[in-house]
């Protein structure tokens, strides 16, 4: 074993490769950039899919007692499918894909650690996602009428989780073992740090979900005596698709902002260790997730009761909020110190991070008993803020690293236009659900509820927001595809950046680095560039 392993079967695209050979190469490639791009591509397909589903649900909720697109249990099943897509079909694989593609370049490695495991990760996740889709189409999933398809749903979710874990192991091992000579852990770039923290916490949290799935699967195929029928799956598996587990998956989104902010400000991040600590604290949601229960703050009872209620609440809900606040605030503070040149990638990442903060803060409020929104659509609003905010950050990251992954620079003005639309879409898809939650709209419900207030207005706005998000993602993919087809070559360092990936040609070659670089600081490129920065 060597410190920096060579690619296993890494190959590059030929200019006139036959279609079948090209497909074969993508299927069998262990090049981390290809695996990462596969993850990113399929996750964005899921993003469009889930936004369209969200729009249909919103329109259906406008008149919950009348207009019905999905009759009977279909609404429950598709609502579950939508929740599955949001978390395990979208934000988790989207950021895993960005991490697989970017982290080896950032830490100065010629390849990702355990490339076959990273390859297995994508195909297991994709196959599992396919099984989940087939099970839903076959009247399976929670609330489904076909017992075999319910089993298939459980199997599919398990495979998805196993695939993601394999990818996280690969990413975490890369950061821990394959860094360039001289790069100590405190010199790891913020995005790679967030990838390490997010990967380790996911490796700890997702197996607990698999354990639950094993019980559910065995019980469901047997007598359904321990865990109940398919309608009780929510009780056992609901925590996987809610907070605080989703905090773990958005840590990398905050890492994107922490990475891009100092590049935008054109300085070394003055409070770099604080950013890294903030990212670590933000992932502490894993502590609450593995307990598989909500920790609600109750202000009733004696002082002792209040303290015993407040401590887990603050630990599991307060600590991630504090970490996210610190990392975002310090990242943005860099702008004040430097000479910022705002690009679309920064706009996407900063707006997305603010949306994530709104989601984590919402989750904090949601778990205060006296707010009376625990089981309301407020929870759907929290998830929408977190997921759509994370999508905006991911689009920022893709814009930032497009030169290394595809060899193109996206049209900044056009992408900047999309950031505004993305912000509007996120707020529209989320905020009305917060308000409807206070009015008494139940969580995850599509039919059979009523409350005093403009039901139609809140749900129409949420539907428009979701539809707009689908259009934003579609337009972004269109911009990326047209740029790749145009083949406009990007320079090696178009953003005047600071980390190792910008020292190699664009797009990054198969083996990343011709020679392993010696690293002497957290911003190795600034050490060799003519002094342009404002001293921190």
């Amino acid at each position: 074993m060597t410190t920096i392993d060579s690619h296993v079967g890494a190959t590059s695209d030929g200019p006139s490769m036959p279609f079948v050979a090209a497909v074969g190469q993508w299927v069998t490639s262990s090049d981390h950039k290809k695996i990462g791009r596969l993850f990113i591509g399929w996750s964005l397909v899921h993003a469009i899919e889930v936004a369209v589903l969200g729009a249909i649900f919103g329109f259906e909720r406008m008149s919950p007692a009348g207009f019905e697109v999905f009759a009977g249990d279909a609404a429950l099943q598709l609502s579950w499918y939508s929740r599955h897509l949001l978390i395990l079909g979208l934000i988790a694989p989207l950021f895993l894909g960005v991490a697989i593609a970017v982290v080896p370049l950032q830490v100065g490695s010629r390849a990702i650690a355990l490339p076959r495991m990273a390859q297995f990760s994508f195909w297991a996740w994709l196959f599992g996602s396919g099984l989940v889709l087939v099970s839903i189409l076959g009247n399976g999933g929670p609330g489904g009428g076909n017992a075999d398809m319910v089993d298939l749903f459980l199997l599919g979710v398990g495979l998805v989780a196993a695939g993601l874990i394999a990818g996280y192991v690969s990413v975490a091992t890369t950061v821990m073992t394959s860094r360039a000579p001289g790069m100590t852990m405190d010199m790891v770039p913020p995005f790679s740090w967030s990838a390490l923290v997010g990967s380790i916490t996911s490796i700890l949290a997702l197996p607990v979900a698999i354990g639950t799935l094993i019980y559910l699967y065995v019980d469901h195929t047997a007598a359904q005596l321990a865990f109940g029928s398919n309608k009780d799956i929510e009780k056992w598996l609901g925590w996987v698709y809610g907070e605080p587990l989703s905090f773990v998956f958005v840590v990398m989104a905050l890492g994107v902002l922490a990475e891009i902010a100092p590049v935008t400000a054109r300085i070394r991040q003055p409070l770099r260790p604080v950013v890294l600590v903030g990212l670590g604290l933000a992932s502490s949601g894993v502590l609450g997730a593995v307990t598989q229960s909500s920790h609600v703050l109750s202000l009733d009872g004696s002082a002792g009761d209040k303290i015993s209620s407040a401590l887990p609440f603050l630990l599991f809900n307060g600590l991630p909020l504090l970490g996210a606040l610190v990392s975002v605030a310090v990242a943005l503070l860099a702008l004040k110190e430097g000479r910022p040149s705002v690009k679309a990638s920064f706009a996407f990442a900063s707006l997305g991070s603010l949306m994530i903060l709104a989601g984590i803060a919402g989750s904090f409020v949601q778990h205060i008993e006296s707010a009376d929104v625990v089981a309301s659509s407020f929870a759907d609003g929290v998830t929408a803020y977190l997921v759509y905010g994370a999508v905006l950050c991911a689009l920022g990251g893709i814009t930032h690293w497009a030169p290394k992954l595809w060899g193109v620079v996206l049209d900044d003005k056009k992408v900047l236009g999309l950031t505004g639309l993305g912000l509007l879409a996120t707020v529209l898809a989320s905020l009305p659900l917060y308000i409807a939650g206070f009015a008494g709209q139940p969580a995850h419900a599509v039919h059979g509820f009523d409350y005093d207030g403009p039901v139609a207005l809140w749900n129409l706005l949420a539907a428009v927001g979701a539809a707009l998000m689908a259009l934003v993602v579609l337009a972004f993919v269109g911009l990326l595809v047209s740029a790749v087809r145009a083949g406009a070559g990007a320079s090696d360092d178009p953003w005047d950046a600071q980390t190792l990936e910008w020292s190699v040609p664009s797009p990054a070659p198969s083996d990343n680095f011709a020679e392993l670089p010696q690293v002497n600081s957290s911003e190795p490129l600034l050490d060799v560039k003519p002094s342009q920065e404002v001293p921190a």
């Binding site: 019980y215 065995v218 007598a223 910008w502 190699v504 670089p517």
Partner: protein, 201 residues
């Protein structure tokens, strides 16, 4: 390299395989911890009933008709450390580049793994209970089956290490160390499972 960063000399290995094995073990440890936590939750939530002699109230969790063959369970418990010991012997032999003893140690580790699987099958057969007969039965098969999956994974790891060993890969010390780490991990996990499932029941 577009920007002239200084080239670095080659570095020593940073234990890629050992680190990834530790991460996988951490994940599997969480899997079993989560399953044991649910086991205890169900046991704590079970209703109480009078004992067969009518003297005291007991949890209606383990059905009266089911008798756990404790000899086989305790044999498994005492066998796991020997597997770890053999795996450690392989590490010792590997450091001395002693291919013969390394391969022998790996074969014995594999055979001990087989014995553990055999003991688990004996427990299933002696208990004579069906998967669908109740909550206890379902959860017992699920948790012990998961443990067996982890043991079989360990045996596959042993087989890979063995074939590489006899194939002359004398530089595979890290693989042998990671393999030993995994068997230590299995021993620790089974100890926890043995206590909660076979002792406390």
């Amino acid at each position: 390299m577009s920007l002239a960063l200084p080239a670095a000399p080659q570095q020593q290995s940073r234990r890629q395989l050992l680190v990834s094995t530790a991460l996988v073990a951490a994940g599997l440890g969480m899997l079993m911890a989560g399953m044991l936590a649910m086991w205890m939750k169900f046991r704590a939530g079970a209703p109480t009933r009078e004992s067969s002699d009518g003297l005291y109230m007991i949890k209606d969790w383990l059905p009266e008709s089911i008798k756990i063959p404790e000899v086989a369970a305790n044999t498994m418990f005492s066998t796991f450390p020997f597997a770890a010991l053999m795996a450690q012997w392989a590490v010792y032999a590997s450091k001395r580049r002693d291919r013969g003893h390394r391969s022998l140690a790996l074969i014995i580790t594999f055979v001990i793994g087989l014995a553990i699987v055999n003991a688990q099958l004996a427990i299933y057969m002696k208990m004579e209970m069906g998967l669908a007969e109740g909550a206890y039965q379902t959860m017992f098969f699920a948790i012990t089956g998961t443990m067996m999956f982890m043991v079989i994974t360990g045996m596959a790891f042993t087989a890979v290490a063995f074939f590489r060993s006899v194939g002359g890969r004398d530089d595979d010390q890290q693989l042998i160390s990671a393999h030993a780490f995994y068997w230590y991990f299995l021993t620790a996990v089974f100890t926890a499972m043995w206590f909660f499932v076979y002792v406390q029941k």
